[in-house]
Amino acid sequence: MFTHVFLYKLKEMFRMKWCIGWNLVFPIVLATAFYMGFGNFIREGEEKEVTQVAVVKESDTSFTEILKRVDFLEIKWTKEEEAKRLLKKGRVDGIFYGPKAEGDQPKLVINENGVGQTLLSQFLKSYNLSEFQVKTLMESEKVEDISKAISLVSQEVEYGEEITGFGSYKKEEEISPYMQYFFALIAMASLFSAWLSEFILKEMLASQSEIGKRYECGPIKRSITILAAILAGFVIEILCNVILVCYIQFVLKLSFHAPLFYVFFISCLAGTCGIAFGIFFGILCAGKENLMVTIPLTFSMICSFFSGLMVGNIQQLIQNKMPIINKINPAAVLSDGLYSIGTYGLGREYWVDVAILLGMTFACILISSIILRRKSYASL
């Protein structure tokens, strides 16, 4: 009888347009919209951004020599007219006018304020600083040995060392921060399964529908029918999540930077967590039709928002200020799991997130079972 109920429930849910719509079509449409919106950012993020500058060289000076050795600027050596054209079209962030002779000040021309322009101005400042330092040294009474100091002025020294990895993390392999939106989307799709389990519950309980009365009049334990129906819900949700993940990975070609099995695993676990929450909501909102639509929707949207669905860095903001919120928000837990496995590889964070999702699922099911254990109703 368990199999009988399970198979029929599966058939029933596959035929429900709203079920497939909310759990599969809507997330895929949204993923496509995200891709169209953020695709550029993700693709551009694969290559390091470089500030471009046009250089109008009057003559060879120390400034132009230093420019030739700089690796964080992309330099276009060109004539003035061409440089102005490039600046107007936005192909370069600024124009350096090289000094006419040694001792002259180079000039920077920009169109607007921005980070690239700040970098160019800082470069110019650093160049001008050398001269100023020599002047200061000469004027200072406190200087004992000026020659060594002046020789240091002309040296190019880099004091910093970039951290490009630690533990199993490697910067060149890191996942784009814009993938956070897709993680939040998978989380939202998982939590939408709460509707599914609300529907299941409504159909199985005598207090909520006529079909529920038929079930409860039958010679089969309530727990078996509910469990079979929930399992069917799990299967649907798992299928939807797997399709969504595959769509993102293989159709949109956005890598999760992690073995797909672990991505599937935690996504499907989040889906079952959504189902568990739905059962819990179904019991809380018994009989109130409007709440049965509004509560799961509001819950999913709020949790998804706080996991980065609309503002990508909100989860990190919460992590800094009040990390406990991220641990009780199932969408944030999933999002964190996908992020950590994509960025740092399979590690403690991932398994902690898995454990939290399992815990939430178990807690919801346990509380729901205790409430549902009641044998008969006071009223129908």
């Binding site: 079509v25 390091k48 980070v115 001008n128 040995d145 020294v157 921060p177 990508g312 989860q315 960025t343």
Partner: protein
């Protein structure tokens, strides 16, 4: 006016959902407005970067360096943590750089002796190079004065003086922007309007119209003494009242949040644009209610349409960041023309706003409204003939 009253009594049932969308508008609009820039394009101004400093040493040198950086950047300092020993801390710093900060500067123990530091730069963006330049300049300056025979404290003082007193570089700002970066809170709020207005119309009007068009209810109304025209007029009246009331509340939110915006004088143009957007949103909700009476499907399709358009037409992601193909496709979507009109208003100076381009955007929005209205009527007729 029984149908008019019934309309609003039915909408009351969706009160919680309606309030939710107002709250979403308030939160996201505010966040978008806070991150907008009103760039003073008359002179050059350095971009203020957010940097995260891990100071393991807490020595006079590290403090001086941090103080120097704090003059131009937004600096958050973490002390009492060891970078190398705590894996969780490493991940926290790395995550903060990925999502918040342009740069993380790690000043380990022994920094005062070695003068070397470690850093994490944001993956994309060049802000990290700016900070590297500044830190290297500071340290080089310090080393120069040490090499010149000064004591540490003196060398620090000289370094700070040198960096503070160095004159302005020759920088010229032409003011010919390739795009206007000046986007005040007014623009930000109005550009966020389509999603909220669209959803409020769909879940309010769309769902109510679907209910009123339900089999028994619509037949009961048709069989009543109320004329067809009166019935339709009451429904249209109710839609307009609800639409205008909703827009009014949204406008109130916008203006309360944007009182200090220098572009407030352009408000009239934004409001006119939003009225045309309202027309389209009403037509969209009518169209959806004609397609189906199923609340779940209306909810789902309206979410798909509004969110999809919001991501591809410049509502959530500015147009300049979208791909060329996406922008070409967006020309066929109404939200794109609304955003275009907002941009025209934002970029315009003086009385140039009421230009051909602006009016074309309004016209196209109207055309979209008419198309959806007609589509809705056709869909309704087809359904009627098949039922």
């Amino acid at each position: 006016m029984p149908v008019f009253k019934a309309f609003f009594k039915t909408i009351k049932v969706r009160f919680l959902s309606i309030v939710t969308y107002f709250i979403i508008f308030l939160i996201f609009g505010s966040m978008s407005a806070n991150s907008s820039r009103t760039a003073m394009e008359e002179k050059f101004q350095e971009e203020k970067l957010s940097i995260y400093v891990v100071d393991e040493e807490e020595s006079p040198l590290t403090k001086a360096l941090i103080e120097s950086l704090s003059k131009d950047e937004k600096v958050d300092v973490e002390t009492g943590k060891k970078w190398t020993e705590q894996k969780e801390f490493q991940k926290k710093v790395n995550d903060n750089v990925r999502f918040f900060y342009s740069y993380a500067l790690i000043l380990s123990k022994g920094f005062s002796e070695r003068h070397t530091y470690q850093f994490i730069m944001e993956h994309d963006g060049v802000g990290g190079y700016v900070i590297n330049q500044k830190v290297d300049a500071f340290l080089k300056s310090y080393e120069i004065y040490l090499e010149a025979g000064m004591e540490e404290a003196e060398a620090l003082q000289m370094t700070q003086r040198t960096l503070g007193e160095i004159g302005e570089s020759q920088i010229e700002l032409t003011g010919e922007n390739k795009q206007s970066d000046s986007r005040g809170s007014l623009y930000s709020f109005f550009s966020f309007l389509p999603y909220s207005l669209g959803m409020l119309m769909c879940i309010g009007i769309g769902l109510v119209l679907a209910e009123l068009a339900g089999d028994c209810l619509s037949l009961r109304i048709q069989a009543s003494a109320m004329s067809f025209l009166k019935n339709k007029m009451e429904i249209i009246g109710a839609m307009l009242v609800y639409g205008l009331a909703t827009l009014l509340i949204l406008l109130l939110i916008i203006f309360l949040q944007s009182l200090g915006d220098p572009d407030l004088w352009k408000a009239g143009y934004y409001i006119l644009n939003s009225l045309f957007l309202l027309l389209f949103s009403l037509a969209l909700s009518y169209f959806l209610s004609s397609l189906t009476k199923d609340n779940g499907i209306i909810n789902m399709v309206s979410n798909m349409l509004t969110l999809g358009m919001s991501f591809t037409c410049g509502v959530f992601v500015p147009l300049e960041y979208l791909g060329d193909g996406v922008i070409k496709g967006a020309h066929f979507l109404p939200y794109y023309w609304y955003i275009r009109a907002c941009e025209i208003v934002n970029q315009a100076k003086g009385s140039q706003i009421f230009s051909g381009d602006y009016l074309i955007c309004l016209l196209i929005l109207t055309l979209f409204a008419v198309v959806f209205l007609v589509a809705g009527m056709i869909a309704g007729k087809v359904k009627e003939s098949h039922s």
